[in-house]
Amino acid sequence: MAVWRHKHLLGLADLTAEEIELVLSLAGPCKEIFGREIKKLPTLRGKTVITLFFEPSTRTRTSFEVAAKWLGADVVNLSVAQSSVAKGESFIDTAKTVEAAGADVIVVRHAIAGAAKLLAETVRCSVINAGDGAHEHPTQGLLDLYTIKERKGGFHGLRVVIVGDIMHSRVARSDIWGLTKLGAKVTVVGPPTLMPPGIETLGVEVAYELDAALARADGVNVLRLQLERQKKGLFPSVREYARLYGMNAERARRLPPDALIMHPGPTNLGVEITEEAACDPRAVITTQVSNGVAVRMALLYLLAGGKEDGLLS
């Protein structure tokens, strides 16, 4: 079993297959807490986790908070809109302030790729990237991996389809890094205008037609169409997108009977996924949310549980 030597989690690109498997193997015992009457462990007692979200979030922020609290840490959520950021305090100064206020771990989300890395180079505490621009969203990647492992047993030879706006998706990038490192075959599908050039250098196949890719898939991850990032006219209409790339009941029928339907949430029902497809028995969308708490617990344990001077980076 691998040994954890990271102080920060900035992306799955930085982890080895063994390190990813270590997080996934710890998520199992963490998930056991869900079934308990008393969901509270003393593991991170005395540690402080501060979340710093410069973009909106329901799942990620909530599940980080739940994960940290179940492990016994204290959690402070900095609401950026009501913080001194509104008075013009910079990103770096805000982070330094948060660290000085006693953070052991800062969980950060920012619209700019590399923001978490910049923070990690500035502060002395641990930094977890909760999404930086279109770069990475490593904890979403980990929970997707855990969900697949839980249902499928492993990754070797699995075919996973990621469909949607690959260009703007940090979830896609973290999933691609994780899945390919663990031995799965990844096909990314989407409109050519939303397919970043050179994506195949990450070791994935590129396809523009969803139906053919679905027939042999062990799992499909349907990305949210980020309507807030679609003001550049990269595709003709939401209706056309839904027709060509939306997961619907008919496409669900093409999927093998034991395939998984995943979605990182929040869903735009009727756009990238219909209600029927989201409620299909093979859909694991709410399981993904619970698994998100489990993998974040595992990660917080690894980053904040042990002795600091044993860490390398």
Binding site: S25, P29, P42, L302, G305
Partner: protein
């Protein structure tokens, strides 16, 4: 590490577990509501063997649980890298049960303290007792065992190794001498 002394051979270990199993039944006046919980790693096969022996004697099946105490350790912030956490598997409700915690070596008492906390978080047992194969002394907490296979006086520079067939391929207990002073960690 050189082996300094053999404390138990396979026969000694078998006889000690047999006696412990009788003491547990006698002390509890039977096996009603009795369940054993082994502390990972070597407490688990010991708990399974004790449950087998008690079950044979009393003509019934005794439930066995597995407890991982990593999340409850008080020395996590002193350790690097972090120990791997395994699943706890307690396939019964602990509430109102008589639980016998089983571990291989009782030393500082810190593992047992963590195990007590872990168990209490799962419910409220009627009572908890402690059975250990070896008590080597040097307690740092006010904890004592209800059932002891063998008391072994040791120095802190020594390490007691319980070897079990299920994990190590043989049944044996040995004392080894550390070259550097021990840091007071339980096995």
């Amino acid at each position: 590490m050189p082996i300094k002394a053999e404390v138990m051979d396979a026969g000694d270990l078998r006889r000690a577990l047999f006696r412990l199993s009788r003491e547990i039944v006698e002390h509890n006046k039977g096996v009603e509501d009795l369940a054993l919980v082994g502390i990972r790693t070597r407490g688990v096969p010991l708990a399974q063997r004790l449950a087998g022996l008690i079950g044979e004697q009393e003509g019934t099946r005794i439930q066995v649980g597995v407890l991982d105490i990593t999340f409850y350790r008080d020395d996590l912030s002193l350790l690097s890298p972090q120990p791997v956490v395994h699943q706890s598997e307690i396939p019964f409700r602990v509430a109102e049960k008589k639980i016998v915690l089983v571990d291989d070596v009782l030393y500082t008492g810190r593992t047992v303290r963590a195990a007590l906390d872990a168990l209490m978080d799962l419910g409220r047992p009627r009572l908890i007792q402690l059975a250990v194969l070896i008590d080597r002394g040097h307690r740092e907490l006010p904890i004592r065992a209800d059932y002891v296979g063998k008391n072994v006086p040791t120095s802190r520079r020594e390490v007691v190794h319980v070897l079990l067939k299920e994990i190590d391929g043989e049944d044996r207990v040995v004392i080894e001498e550390l070259s550097a002073p021990s840091v007071g960690k339980e096995t």
